[in-house]
């Protein structure tokens, strides 16, 4: 049997993984590994960072320099790594809870600074690892383990948040768009500046079962695909038509000086004593 083309990236003894059957995180990990192969990147020049949660496990399984295990602090670690050694390519994997709740401030500040890292957010709309609690990305009125009578809060549009905070590259795809996702991850890593890639993903165990009422991951993937509309199409739709839809595509792509670039420039121009 031929080994999987991405098997060579797996940390020795790292498997089996802990993802539930039908989980989207494994797909996203694969998209990332395809992306770095297609870009011909040397993994020894990379640092992979994960916080806490299902998605944060991606760097645990890949054989690379990696940091893992504290909830929400991925971008703070990344800031130190990148400023200390700007040559390193830093890719961060965080969940919606990790990025938009406990790590929300680090997220918007890193975007504002245009820190040259790639942040891949795996958004499944719920806290999966801890048992399906409400997240800042859970839709209004959804029933979760901590909103038994329905979610009272509105959800974040993470791409709009990233854009407003100053991210210089922003895109969103779902696990049902593998080719676009790989392309987006490639572009995100190549982008000089803060790249934000939101991957809407399925959590069949909690969001699928309890919020959407699906019994099979396949139904869920089909729903992700059918429920997605392109940015172009969405621009012609009314807010009512867009309700509950996932708008996919590239929202921001601009070149601005990064934090490190400005720092290096300051070193050259600052007044010598």
């Amino acid at each position: 049997m031929k080994p999987h083309p991405n098997a060579k990236f797996i940390r020795e003894g790292g498997l089996p993984h802990m993802f539930c059957p039908g989980c989207g995180v494994g797909q996203i990990m694969n998209y990332f590994l395809y992306a770095i192969q297609e870009l011909n990147l040397d993994i020894d020049d990379m640092v992979l960072i994960g916080g806490v949660g299902c998605n944060a496990r991606i760097p645990v399984y890949i054989h690379a320099d990696a940091i893992h295990g504290v909830h929400g602090r991925t971008l703070a670690w990344a800031t130190g790594v990148k400023l200390a050694n700007p040559e390193l390519t830093v890719v961060i994997f965080a969940g919606d809870g990790d990025c938009a709740a406990i790590g929300g401030n680090h997220f918007i500040q890193a975007a504002r600074r245009n820190l040259d890292v790639t942040l891949i957010i795996v958004n499944n709309g719920i806290y999966g690892m801890t048992g399906g609690q409400v997240a800042p990305t859970t839709p209004f009125d959804a029933r979760t383990s901590t909103t038994p009578w329905g979610n009272l809060e509105n959800s974040f549009d993470l791409c709009k948040l990233a854009k407003a905070a100053g991210a210089t590259h922003v895109s969103r795809w779902t696990t049902a768009h593998p080719k676009s996702a790989i392309k987006a991850i490639k572009k995100g890593i190549q982008h000089k500046g803060f790249s934000f890639i939101e991957m809407v993903s399925q959590c069949p165990t909690y969001f699928g079962r309890y919020v959407l009422g699906f019994t099979e991951p396949e139904e869920y993937l089909n729903w992700l695909r059918k429920n997605s509309v392109s940015k172009e199409k969405a621009s012609k739709m009314s807010p009512e038509e867009l309700a509950g839809k996932i708008v996919v595509g590239e929202f921001v792509d601009k070149r601005e000086p990064t934090l490190v670039e400005r720092y290096l420039e300051m070193e050259k121009t600052m007044v010598k004593r």
Binding site: V70, G80, N85, E87
Partner: protein, 379 residues
């Protein structure tokens, strides 16, 4: 490094600036911090100095961001420090847990202040030892002068690198906001310790297997060693797993590398101890009044001594037991409700008489106050 970037010779410095200069002299090239009185001057000085010495400075969004970015920089191979005051240190405990378990060298300055005010205090001495969740050992140095603010910050970096552990410099508003004379040696004459590097290729390297001293060598990001630094329980290869034996072994080593080497770590000074009947055990700014009081008591014919603890964690039981065996009474003056006294009591109980001398009102003891207690206890 060109000469103009080095600040050495006789200097007249603010305590907080001496801390910053100590860090630079020790090789610190990354600083992240968040403003807080009375620690802010450390960040201000570092923002000006870091670019001059080829380092990086960033003001983060909070103390949590500061400590984690310091950890990131250290993993990338750069010596790094952050500084805060009591309330900010609360936030940093999360990062300290991570740095202890993943063995990331870093230095944290905690300029103690009264809760939500800026008066001097020593109220946080126990927090350093016990504040974070789970098991950890930490090294904590307490300067009592501006010169020591410099010297002990250099020492803090050396200890952090040697033991691959966070090290805390615990200051107080008194030391940090005092100006004083500091003699800074030329940088190349200062003893510097750097973390051990792996001696074997990546495929043979066990990143979390201690050498004889319990401390593993450390690669930096980009070296090709592909290390996973996770706070989750991990084996010697760094693989995350739950196995009671592995967990027990990991924390036995993490704690043991410091606890078993206390005698090499713990620094102290004794004054007039040889023939003493009474010893005043002090740390930080309280040492200034304590030593003065002891000198005055000696002039009155009272055989008093001062034992100054430079390292407050880990505590040297050997030293305190020795002191207890020699003297009839130990007095512990503190700028808090009498916290470190409990540690002295734990070690010395039953061996000699112990007197706690707390002062919890944002003021240090005067030497007269300590002298009065010495007099009363010499009768």
């Amino acid at each position: 490094m060109s000469k103009y970037e080095e600040i050495s010779g006789v200097q007249f410095l603010l305590g907080n600036h001496a801390i910053a200069e100590g860090a630079i002299a020790a090789g610190c090239r990354y600083f992240a911090g968040y403003p807080i009185t009375p620690a802010s001057e450390i960040a201000e000085r570092m923002s000006e100095r870091m670019p001059r010495v080829g380092g990086r400075f960033i003001q983060m969004e909070d103390e949590i961001g500061s400590i984690f970015s310091v950890i990131g920089a250290s993993l990338a191979g750069v010596k790094a420090m952050t500084a805060t005051a009591s309330d900010g240190y609360n936030y940093m405990l999360e990062g300290i847990c991570f740095a202890v378990t993943t063995e990331v060298p870093c230095v944290i300055v905690n300029v103690q202040r009264t809760r939500q005010d800026i008066q001097p205090t020593q109220a946080d001495v126990m927090q350093i030892k016990w504040g974070a969740s789970g098991d950890f050992e930490i090294i904590c140095l307490a300067p009592s002068s501006v010169q020591e603010a410099f010297d002990l910050t250099v020492e803090a970096f050396n200890l952090a690198e040697k033991y691959r552990n966070p090290v805390v410099v615990i200051s107080e508003a008194i030391i940090s906001h005092m100006r004083g004379k500091v003699v800074i040696p030329e940088y190349d004459k200062i003893k510097i310790i750097n973390r051990k590097k792996p001696k074997v290729p990546p495929e043979e390297f066990l990143p979390f297997k201690g050498e004889e001293d319990g401390v593993p060598p450390m690669s930096k990001f980009g070296d090709g060693y592909r290390i996973l630094y996770s706070v989750n329980p991990h084996d010697e290869k760094g693989k995350i797993l739950w196995d009671p034996d592995v967990y027990e072994r990991l924390y036995d080593r993490l704690l043991g590398k410091i606890a078993r080497d206390v005698d090499n770590i713990a620094k102290y000074e004794t004054h007039f101890l040889d023939d003493a009947d009474i010893a005043v055990v002090s740390y930080g700014s309280e040492t200034r009044s304590a030593l003065d009081a002891v000198i005055k008591a000696r002039k009155e014919g009272i055989k008093a001594a001062n034992v100054k603890l430079t390292t407050i964690w880990p505590v040297s039981s050997k030293l305190l037991e020795e002191v207890a065996d020699r003297v009839k009474k130990i007095i512990v003056p503190e700028m808090n409700v009498g916290k470190y006294f409990l540690e002295v009591q734990r070690i010395c109980n039953g061996k000699t008489k112990l007197v706690s001398m707390p002062k919890n009102r944002g003021e240090m003891h005067t030497s007269e106050e300590i002298l009065n207690i010495i007099r009363r206890n010499s009768k």
